[in-house]
Amino acid sequence: MSILKQKIEELKKYKEKIILGGGEKAIAKQKDMGKKTARERIDALLDKDSFLEYDMFIQHEAREFGLLGKELPADGVITGTGKINGKQIAVFAQDFTVAGGSLGFMHAKKITKIMDVALNNRIPLIGINDSGGARIQEGVGALAGYGEIFYRNTVSSGVIPQLSVILGPCAGGAVYSPALTDFVFVVEEVSKMFITGPDVIKTVLGEEISQEDLGGARVHSEITGNAHFCASSEDECFDQIRTLLDYIPQNNNKESLCAAMAKEPLSKTEIETTVPDDPKIPYDVRDVIKSVADGSDFFEIQSLFAPNIVIGYGRINGETVGFVANQPDSLAGVLDCDSADKAARFIRFCDAFNIPLVTFEDLPGYLPGIDQEHMGVIRHGAKILYAYSEATVPRITVILRKAYGGGYIAMNSRHLQADFVFAWPLAEIAVMGAEGAANVIFRKDIADAENHAEERTRKIQEYRDRFANPYIAAGKGFVDAVIEPCETRKYLIHALSICKNKKVERPYKKHGNPPF
């Protein structure tokens, strides 16, 4: 055997050992928890044979607490580059079978190296998290690692899409990397995220709660809004990632947007009957989105969190657009702290990555109440105004029915410099609903009338007839066109084509100061 051949054999054996990670026993344990191994996850997610691994031979430098000389294959994280849907991506996957996927100094070095590869080459970064947390034995070295990751997440924000996939525990400082990224994926019964776990909470506060109830997939999908996509299995989760990457560009360069073949919607004819004539009757606004989107495909984001606003991706004439829509089927479609927060972050992602925005509006206004006011609906509600006003991507609004007061202004109105505002004939664009307005404006007439109730009803009707329509706003040029529902897609296609080379200059600034 030549020396080279002998060395190649040694290399193969060395690699085999590393690929086994924490060993067969630990792998069996991982499987018992219903989880794939880190390498299986990369294989399942990426295009076949596209993955190239980096830093397989990395060695930790810890000396204390019995770690000196202890082998931790790949230091508990697999990193590399490959392809998804034929497009380049960078990925890291923590290996729970090696020291519980704990993050030590070299483990973090591997992650930050692949983050640099992603940023320098303008390709999306996908982080698969499955880790017990900081490797305590490495002390401050582990903390340094987290800080270096957070810094890179922040610097990369708005330049490349960053996806976090939580496929195991992700606790303590580790949660802040996902929180800084654009999209967080969770899987039921597998994902657990919290700053302090149930044990600490019990010790410090005496409160008892399970890991699942504290920070399981449903909690983060429905209550906290930390997660964007919830799946029932790892395979379903990987499908969601592939679908998302199909809609969004590789980076913030306009040329990286890629169009698909244009398709007609499937349910175009139903658009007339989707929205009930009576403004008090709710409906599912997603049916309106599907009636204008190519192939009626709509990929919803955060469907379980703040469902009173709907966000997600679809295509119009082959081009990706971000849809934002009030959902009359949930809390009457009001804006509140959570829905404003949800929409604002989505709008900012779309703007950063050159994705045009289409807004469907039908809302009674902001949600009144002591708890909303005390939760800060002023500063949270301001986020949506800021996000729309700041966005320089094409912005088109279609007013379906109700557009009252502050809600009307907030939902990408002409006054926030929307490019196009269309209204359906049922639209009611007014300072407030007819009842409220009539009670204020005609207070004296109602008080002076012999029959208050009758006069009130008459005045409400009078107000409704005169003002609850789209023509006052259209008369002032705030609405560009009042259109038939069946013309919506045609108008959207036209408007998007007009805005194709939209260029808006903003005054120089380091960055704005949105009401975080």
Binding site: E207, I209, D213, V219, I223, P279, K280, I281, P282, P328, D329, L331, A332, G333, V334, P364, G365, L367, P368, G369, K402, G433, E435
Partner: protein
């Protein structure tokens, strides 16, 4: 705890019960409309988020109810 109990169907705002679409003892499925509830200028469809059996209905048609009132309880 803070976690919502899906067996308690509550009013999300003060409002008026327009219609009750079920009765005590009925078996209901996730997504079924239980109450039509007038609030925020809308006849809101109040649904159940779980499968279950109606234990009690604590409101009547045309009742004005405050916020967070348990209108229906599931077993």
């Amino acid at each position: 705890m803070m976690i919502k109990n899906p067996k308690h169907i509550k009013s999300f705002l003060p409002g008026t019960v327009i219609d009750i679409k079920t009765a005590a003892g009925n078996i209901v499925k996730k997504g079924d409309v239980l109450i039509i509830f007038d609030a925020m200028k809308m006849h809101n469809r109040i649904i159940t988020t779980i499968d279950g059996k109606i234990k009690s209905i604590n409101v009547r048609q045309n009742d004005a109810v405050p916020k967070d009132f348990i209108m229906i309880e599931l077993e």
